[in-house]
């Protein structure tokens, strides 16, 4: 019984190893310091606490500080591609490069606050 288990374990090792390898190369890591320099288009709405959108619906724009970096990046990519629709966000995200998106996601994920090195 133990032998069969050992054989099964050995056979499954390559599968386990390949499962840990990402299918696609990871996106380039964002730089929060560069991201901070790119927030001019964001802070008009996301930098003012309680700010509300006026069109097409009235609701407070979401808080971004401390949000997961991966989620922020995927939201910007969805706005850029048009998969997620919002007139202002579509236009703004459309002007961002992949590196801009990664930097902004990194900046807001760390809380949107200055780092110790600044």
């Amino acid at each position: 019984m133990t032998r069969y288990f050992a054989i099964a374990l050995l056979l499954s090792l390559p599968a386990l190893a390949s499962a840990q390898t990402p299918a696609q190369p990871a996106a380039p890591a964002g730089d929060p310091l560069k991201g901070r320099e790119k927030t001019r288009m964001c802070e008009g709405c996301h930098g003012i606490e309680g700010w509300r959108t006026a069109y097409p619906e009235v609701y407070r724009v979401p808080k971004l500080g401390g949000q997961h970096e991966a989620y922020l990046a995927s939201a910007l990519k969805e706005y850029k591609s048009g998969a997620r629709s919002h007139p202002s966000m579509r236009a703004i995200a459309g002007s961002l490069s992949d590196a801009d998106i990664a930097d902004l996601a990194a900046y807001y994920a760390q809380g949107g606050v200055k780092t110790a090195s600044q």
């Binding site: 808080k63 971004l64 500080g65 401390g66 997961h68 989620y71 997620r84 809380g111």
Partner: protein
Amino acid sequence: MAGMRLLLLIASFALATVAHGADVTAGQAKAKEICQACHGLDGNSAVADYPKLGGQYPDYLAKALRDYKSGARKNPIMAGFAGALTAQDIDNLAAYYASQPAVLARQY
């Protein structure tokens, strides 16, 4: 027993009225049932692909759920969950997650 239930009903209705139509307790019950597995009961999701909800603005959370339900915002996972929610469920859930200790920074 029936009197107790009636009292609870009246009490919960009164609470719901105070909270502008949203029932945070009912929202928590629904969150335990549906949302907790991915977003966490306090809204501080451990998985990077799933957004943190704790302390987010309730009107934004409600809009996101309404958009998932209507299909205006497309996500295969959320479409299934939001599609099963009533308008009242959405208001309750939004109020509940907004009421959780903010994991999202206040200033941005």
